[in-house]
Structures are given as C-alpha cells and as structure tokens.
C-alpha cells in the first residue's frame, strides 16, 4: 500500500500527511484503507485534525473529512490549517498522557536501536541494554526494561513508565534523571522474582519507582 497517507500524532493533534502527486481518487482509496487499519486505535478519539503535504481545495478537504467521519469513530474537534494553535484549548481537551496516540512495538528492542514517538509507547518485548525508548507520553514495557527509557519528553511531568521487569540503566521523566547504580543488570534469573510490575513516576519533582500496587496508584493520583 505504501506510505501515501501517513498519520502522525503531535501535541494533541492528528496530522494526516498526504502524498502530493498521486491522483485524488487514489489518495481517497489509500486514506480509507489506512483508516480501516487504524480503526481500533482511533476509536472514540477526540482530536484536532490537520491535512498536510498536499495542496487541497476546500471541496477536496470536505471529501476527505467525510471519509474520515464515515470510516472511523472519532470526534473531530476542529480542522487546523497548520498555524500553531498551541492554545490552552487543545491542551485541556487532549492530554497525551491520558488519551494520546500510542505506538505499539511488538518485539525486542536490541542494542543500538532507538524508538521515539510523539505520544505513548507500549513495547511487547524487552528493551535490551544499549537501546533507547523516548516518548512524549508514557512508556509501558511488557517485558524486561534494561536499556534507557525517557518519558514525557516535551515537558510532560505527568508521564509514567511501567515495566514487568524494571531494571533500566537510566530512566528520565521530563527533566528528572534516574541512574541505576545496582550491578548485575543482566542476571535476570536473579532479578525476575524480585521486581515485578513496577511503575516510575514523578512526585514533587522526585522520580519514584514503586511496585504497581493499589496503594501506589492511589499515591500517584492524589496530588
């Protein structure tokens, strides 16, 4: 199918990047296909929308909006024309950390690989030493987190990092850095029993790593 239509989540806005040269009819088909594939992901979503990468007339824009509305169940709050609307309105309506776009990575991140996303990231697999995960939102690792994870990169101090086996070299949430001074990062047979489902979050500018229990969750929620 190619990348004639690309979705990008950025700062609470869904940007649809369109191929500038292919015939409009073909573009519409690609848009339908891509939307069908993302149906589950976008379901119930409330967002601002922006079309980019191609000069389109008002009629064409209306056609594309029509397709979006008919194919997926999202609530388009308004259509942006690209001028940065970094107003409070958007931020109040869509908070990445609670409702943002999420990238799902299936498989292990190996040493030397970097995964960056302007939203939340879920890794189904391990994050091996020497790899880096960077998200504007939250990071969830269903597996072992050994590498480096940086959540809340664009100044989002409410972001959290969860891992089934939390044993990273370094964690960063917003600007707060945590370095893991314990050794034996790789001795998993010793680690797995001790650490299970941990969450890292900021409280009063301190990075806390805790077991993911009801008590911890209460602590996070209460400001």
């Amino acid at each position: 199918m190619g990348n004639n239509v690309i979705f990008k989540g950025s700062n609470g806005k869904l940007i649809i990047i369109l191929n500038p040269t292919i015939p409009f009819q073909e573009l519409k088909d690609h848009l339908v296909k891509k939307l069908e594939k993302s149906k589950q992901l976008l379901m119930g979503y409330e967002t601002a929308l922006e079309f980019k990468g191609r000069e389109i007339s008002e009629e064409e824009e209306l056609e594309l909006l029509d397709i979006v509305n008919k194919t997926v169940d999202i609530n388009i709050l308004f259509v942006s024309d690209g001028n940065e609307l970094a107003s409070k309105e958007i931020k109040d309506v869509v908070n990445i950390v609670s409702e943002g776009m999420t990238k799902f990575h299936i498989g292990t991140l190996r040493s030397g690989e970097i995964l960056e996303y302007p939203g939340n990231i879920v890794v189904l697999g391990d994050v091996n030493p020497g790899s880096i995960v960077k998200a504007e939102g939250n990071i969830v690792v269903i597996g072992t987190l050994n590498g480096v994870a940086h959540a809340g990169t664009e100044g989002n101090d409410e972001a959290f990092i969860v891992a089934s086996n939390m044993n990273p070299f370094q964690l960063k949430i917003d600007e707060i850095l945590f370095k893991n001074y314990s050794s034996n990062i790789l001795f998993r047979s010793k680690q797995i029993i001790r650490n299970k489902n941990n969450i890292a979050y900021l409280k009063n500018n301190i990075l806390i790593i805790d077991k993911l229990t009801r008590k911890t969750l209460q602590n996070i929620v209460t400001t």
Partner: protein, 263 residues
C-alpha cells in the same frame, strides 16, 4: 544446492574461527561436503586453525578478481576428502571487496557443496556486511560475558534488519563452576536476553589452545568436552535430535553431598 551459514558475533575472540573449523570437520565426518570460507580479509586465521597455512597458493580475492579459477584456490583438508578451505587474502583489506563480489562467489560455492560456512570477521563494518550478504542462516557465537552479549545483541538486530533467514545461538566458553557460584551468566539468562534458539553450548576447554597450535581442530578426535560439544552441534545442524550435554550434573551431585555433611 547447499546451505550457507555465516558464523558471526560482533565481538572479537569469542570463537568464530574455532567454531567454523570444528563445525566443518564435524559435518565432513558425517559425510557432507563442506567448504569453509575465511571472510576475514587481511587478518586471516582459518587456515592456521586447520593446519593448512603452508598450502595456500591462491585465495578468495584471486577468484573474485578472475586471476584464477575457484578450483585452484580451494584447498582440500589433509584429513577429510570432503572438507575444503577457501582462504582469505592476507595482503588486501576488507574495503577491496564488495557485497556483489561476495554474492557471486558464494552462489558458486553453494552449487558445489552441501554446506558453505563463512567465517565472519569481528565488527559491524564492511567486512561484516560482505560476509553476511550471501548467507541463508546465521550462527551467533557469544561467550557468557556482558561485553560479548551486548555486541551479539547489536549484531542480531542488524541481521534481523537485513534479509537473513534463521538466526541461532551458540554459547562458547561456559564455566559451570562459575555459573553455579552465581558469578557467570547461565545459558538460560543469555537465551532470555538475546531471544534466540540455542544450537549448542561449548564448555571452556584447555584443549582448544593446544589444538590451535597443532593445527588439528578438537572435533577431529572429539575426545575432549569441547570436541564432543562441536560434534553435537554438527549433528543438530544436520537435523539430528541431540539433547544438550548436562554439564550441570557433575556439580549438582557434589553439592548434594556438601549439603548432607554440612547439617
């Protein structure tokens, strides 16, 4: 049509060349025709391990440049009729070879032999890229050391991104005494981190040093622990179902006695 394996690791000195030689001997002993190709141009070692260094007239560079025919460069092993070595050039370097040249040569070898084993150089630069380009499958060699595992992980990531087929793992130089003390990573830890199927575990063995200097790979006599391990790997590659040597057993028996008397 034969099968092409590349034996690689990222880290240097973990046993790629030793494994290539011993696997080659093992497969030849089982009746297959094997060619061992040294892809470490400029720093060749495969010929030394096999004890064939004084027989080299032509090398793979000569074949690729058209200076000689493939048959003239292939050296038959002194012990096994079906085992051949295609040595690397010692006077060129890795930048003199392109992936296209390698692909052509490997394709030619594939037609003539049951198995083509490519001894990959250390690193992830041009030498590595050339060595992996013609291979069907990869064997990753790692020792139970963190540095080796880190490099192996990197290499596996690169191989997965290229069009490599199956990638399997061989853990080399394991010392069960250290593992049981908790001072060395267990095979299971390594498999867990690297996420690959294991095809062999080779214990650390002094015989390897002796065999290298003699020019006779351990799997020729296959009496030492490493020799037996290599024969088992050759068997598994050939499709035999061989259980793993339980290197644990000897030590766990001793520890049973220790606990009894310490009460």
């Amino acid at each position: 049509m034969g099968k092409v394996y590349v034996i690689t690791s990222g880290k240097g000195g973990v046993g790629k060349t030793t494994t290539t030689a011993n696997l080659g001997v093992g497969l030849a002993k089982k009746g297959s025709s094997v060619v061992l190709m040294d892809a470490d141009i400029g720093l060749r070692n495969l010929d030394v391990i096999l004890g064939l260094e004084n027989r080299i007239v032509y090398n793979s560079m000569d074949v690729m440049m058209g200076t000689c025919r493939l048959k003239q460069a292939l050296i038959k092993d002194k012990r096994y009729d079906k085992l051949f070595l295609l040595p690397a050039s010692q006077t060129n370097d890795k930048m003199d070879v392109s992936p296209e040249m390698m692909t052509k040569l490997v394709a030619e070898l594939k037609e003539k032999f049951d198995y083509v084993l490519i001894d990959c150089p250390a690193g992830i630069e041009q030498g590595f890229k050339n060595a992996i380009v013609g291979a069907d499958e990869a064997l990753i060699i790692t020792t139970p050391e963190i540095s080796s595992i880190r490099d192996a992980d990197r290499v596996i990531g690169l191989l997965a991104a290229s069009e490599m087929g199956e990638i399997k793992l061989i853990v080399n130089r394991i010392k069960m005494k250290l593992v049981n003390e908790g001072n060395m990573l267990h095979m299971d830890d390594i498999v867990d981190i690297l996420g690959l199927d294991i095809v062999g575990v080779i214990p650390d063995d002094e015989e390897i040093v002796i065999s290298t200097n003699k020019g006779e790979p351990v799997s020729v006599k296959a009496m030492s622990p490493s020799g037996k391990a290599y024969m088992n790997i050759a068997g598994r590659i050939s499709g035999e179902d061989i259980p793993f040597l339980n290197i644990d057993e000897k030590i766990s028996l001793a520890s049973k006695f220790k606990n009894f008397f310490s009460r």
